[in-house]
């Protein structure tokens, strides 16, 4: 009798050992570098989803999940590659939530994820170049490509009846990518771009740039720049010389600073930024507040969704092997079944186990298009009486 007891205990122990493993997930973000202020809230967003799944005890029959942080920096491809390599070979993670900036993401994808067959879901890499990069079906992102913003902006401008615009962009990957995608979309829909001119950030004087833009003319000026950088100088110059009266602001320009410094001078101007609203967003904010961090911080919700998608896909594939569960990610994100919001990951896991389809909505109304990137929701704003007002979401 004693022997039987011991044996069954041993079997039970071995069984739990075999089934309830500890799944490791990499959280690879730019904890140091030019966007270091955004990284903590993003990591906390991802870790919130990981904890939720882990605590529910429903993943693959009771697996726990442990996040492992890695520093991808933002501009240093070598450092990002090394951090990704460490996560895969030494920490043996089953998936990577990251990386953060487009450059670092490309480096990790090509040097680490593809050779090792590792799934990566980036919450914040927005370069259009990542849409067409070969990725063996391993790369996804919960942030929209800047190409999407270009299209949304083109629609917005044309709906206001503006048929010709001048365009200036900050001379880097973000500015160039956004400007190109906008120009393409706007022209395809019948608009005219009179000039597409780059401006350098960090200069004191933008009068020459403004002069060329003014000479090219147009009914509005699109400034694909940064409000804390050259975008501000261009806007100031254009207002001072009376070159333009209407402006279009993409996400790099839409901020409190814009309203504080220019407010009443840009009445009637408009713009957009990636943002989400609705049930999922509200639920995520409540969860974030309860967990003690700011859920409104940029890309924090996207990070939650990236981690949740990966874990739900593992359940759907009944495997933590990236090569197996990578095929399930699109099904989870775009499925026909019940909608799953933040805080309901346990329910999602249960439904998957029962063999029912789910549609993961998450914090940012996740809907993956094309090669596995978010279609994105944009908040359209307009300046009225010196105040920035939300017009609609699109």
């Amino acid at each position: 009798m004693k022997r039987i007891l011991l044996a069954s205990a041993a079997i039970a122990f071995a069984a739990t050992g075999a089934y309830a493993a500890d799944v490791k997930m990499g959280v690879l973000l730019g904890f140091t570098g030019p966007l270091e202020s955004l990284a903590p809230a993003m990591a906390q967003g991802a870790e919130l989803a990981i904890k939720e799944v882990s605590d529910s005890g429903k993943l693959l029959g009771g697996d726990t999940v442990t996040p492992v942080r890695g520093d991808s920096t933002c501009v240093d491809a070598a450092a990002a590659t090394a951090a990704g390599e460490t996560l895969v070979t030494s920490d043996k993670v089953s998936g990577i939530m990251g990386a953060m900036c487009s450059g670092a993401t490309t480096a990790v994808l090509q040097n680490v994820a593809m050779p090792n067959g590792m799934v990566m879901i980036s919450p914040s890499a927005t370069s259009p170049a990542l849409s067409t990069l070969p990725d063996d079906g391993l790369f996804f992102r919960t942030a929209p490509s800047d190409a999407r913003q270009g299209e949304v902006m083109a629609d917005e401008i044309l709906e206001k009846g503006i048929k010709s615009v001048a365009l200036t962009y900050t001379n880097n990957d973000y500015g160039k990518g956004l400007a190109d995608s906008f120009e393409k979309a706007y022209k395809a829909k019948g608009g005219t771009v009179t000039i597409s001119a780059a401006h350098e950030d960090g200069k004191g004087d933008y009068s020459a740039e403004v002069a060329s833009l003014a000479s090219a003319g147009g009914d509005a000026l699109v400034i694909a720049g940064y409000i804390d950088q050259g975008g501000s100088g261009i806007l100031r110059g254009a207002l001072d010389t009376g070159a333009f009266e209407k402006f279009v602001f993409p996400d790099g320009m839409v901020s409190q600073t814009l309203e504080d410094n220019f407010g009443s001078e840009v009445n009637g101007s408009f713009g957009q930024m990636p943002a989400s609203e609705g049930e999922g967003h509200d639920k995520f904010l409540a969860l974030a507040t309860a967990a003690g961090f700011d859920g409104t911080s940029v890309y924090s919700g996207e990070a939650y969704d990236a981690a949740a998608l990966m874990l739900l896909a593992m359940e759907a594939a009944n495997s933590t092997d990236p090569k197996v569960y990578k095929d399930k990610i699109m099904d989870i994100a775009n499925g026909d079944g019940e909608k799953i919001y933040p805080g309901e990951l346990a329910k999602g896991l249960e439904l998957i186990k029962e063999g029912k389809p789910i549609n993961y909505e998450g914090a940012t109304a996740v809907h993956l298009i094309g090669n596995g990137e978010a279609s994105g929701t944009f908040r359209e704003i307009e300046f009225k009486d010196g105040k920035m007002e939300t017009v609609q979401y699109r």
Binding site: N171, I195, A197, A198, H199, E200, G202, K203, G204, D205, Y206, S207, A208, E209, V210, A211, S212, A214, S215, A216, G217, D228, S232, G233, R236, D240, T241, G242, A243, N261
Partner: protein, 335 residues
């Protein structure tokens, strides 16, 4: 009507900005040229001296604003300017005492002095950032415009806007006053004459009893004043950022060399040559051409150079002058 519109467009986008920018460059180039002719080296720290001076002026301006002192329609910074000059001049004298004096004593070669000034530049740049930070600062209060675009359109009914910012007027007026005062000082006063004598022939000047320490000290004080004025005007007209003054170094040196380094009149002429070339060559003439030649819509922008190449313009002029006319437009001197 079209002719007037074309003239207005040129004035608004080329003449007014280039004049203000030229005045700022001219003041900067005067400082460089003074150091070159009297202390005999190219002072690479001049850009960051401008940044430091402007930083101090901004700090004092904030102090005045906090106390509720203002100049009405004029920017408070003008009131703070003299105090900024005093602090900057003190820093110049301190730097000379600690750094340059030694190299003068050992009669270091000019190229060594240039390298020393590069070192001073880095220290001064760090000091400025430490004092006031790296962010963009707008410290222009008071009235922004003499004429703004809307008033102009209502006044004239022309389709082309014309704006004249108060900072542009202040820049030009201050520059004229400063230059007049400087030329009076160099030409009429005893100290000014001794400076010129020292510049022309150091040994002869020393033999005739001119106190070299006094000449050096006065030169640094004047340089500090010029740098602070030029930097503050630039900051008022555009915006202040600790890094942008370093970028100004190239056009400033180009101005000084084009005009003939060591020659104050040349520095002023050079400033305007550089500013008008930079703005004129990168301006898209499409609009003006459309007004002037009816029935012709150019496809391109009629732009000689993209604005990205703005700095390349001063660099190219600098190289051309050094190759073909190293003494500059007005005969300068090459040590």
């Amino acid at each position: 009507m079209d002719l007037i519109n074309a003239l207005v467009a040129i004035t608004n986008y080329v003449i007014i900005p280039a004049t203000a920018y030229g005045a700022q460059l001219a003041l900067g180039a005067l400082g460089v040229t003074l150091i070159y002719s009297i202390l005999r080296f190219s002072n690479f720290a001049h850009g960051d001296t401008m940044a430091f001076g402007t930083g101090i002026v901004i700090l004092i301006t904030w102090g005045f604003q906090a106390m509720g002192i203002s100049l009405g329609p004029l920017p408070t910074a003008l009131l703070a300017l003299p105090f900024g000059i005093i602090v900057t001049a003190a820093l110049m004298l301190g730097t000379d005492k600690v750094v340059y004096q030694y190299y003068r004593k050992v009669r270091a070669a000019p190229v060594v002095m240039v390298m020393v000034s590069v070192g001073v530049m880095f220290v001064m740049n760090a000091l400025t950032r430490f004092l006031i930070g790296v962010d963009q600062i707008n410290f222009d209060d008071g009235a922004r415009f003499v004429i703004n675009a809307r008033q102009w359109r209502e006044m004239t009914g022309l389709s082309e806007p014309l704006t004249l910012r108060s900072t542009q007027v202040i820049t030009v007026v201050t520059a004229i006053i400063t230059v007049a005062a400087l030329f009076w000082f160099l030409g009429k006063t005893r100290t000014g004459k001794s400076m010129r004598a020292y510049s022309d022939n150091e040994d002869l000047a020393l033999l005739s009893g001119i106190d070299p320490n006094r000449v050096v000290a006065v030169t640094w004080i004047i340089t500090g004043a010029l740098a602070t004025i030029a930097g503050t005007l630039y900051g008022l007209d555009k915006s202040f950022k600790a890094f942008t003054y370093f970028q100004l170094l190239l056009p400033i040196f180009a101005s000084a060399i084009v005009g003939g380094i060591g020659n104050p009149v040349g520095a002023i002429a050079g400033g305007f040559v550089i500013s008008f070339s930079e703005v004129g060559l990168t301006y898209a003439w499409k609009k003006v051409v459309t007004y002037l030649i009816p029935n012709w819509q150019p496809d391109g922008l009629v732009q000689l150079l993209s604005t990205d190449y703005k700095y390349a313009v001063s660099f190219t002029i600098l190289i051309l002058v050094l190759i073909f006319k190293p003494t500059g437009l007005f005969k300068g001197k090459i040590v």
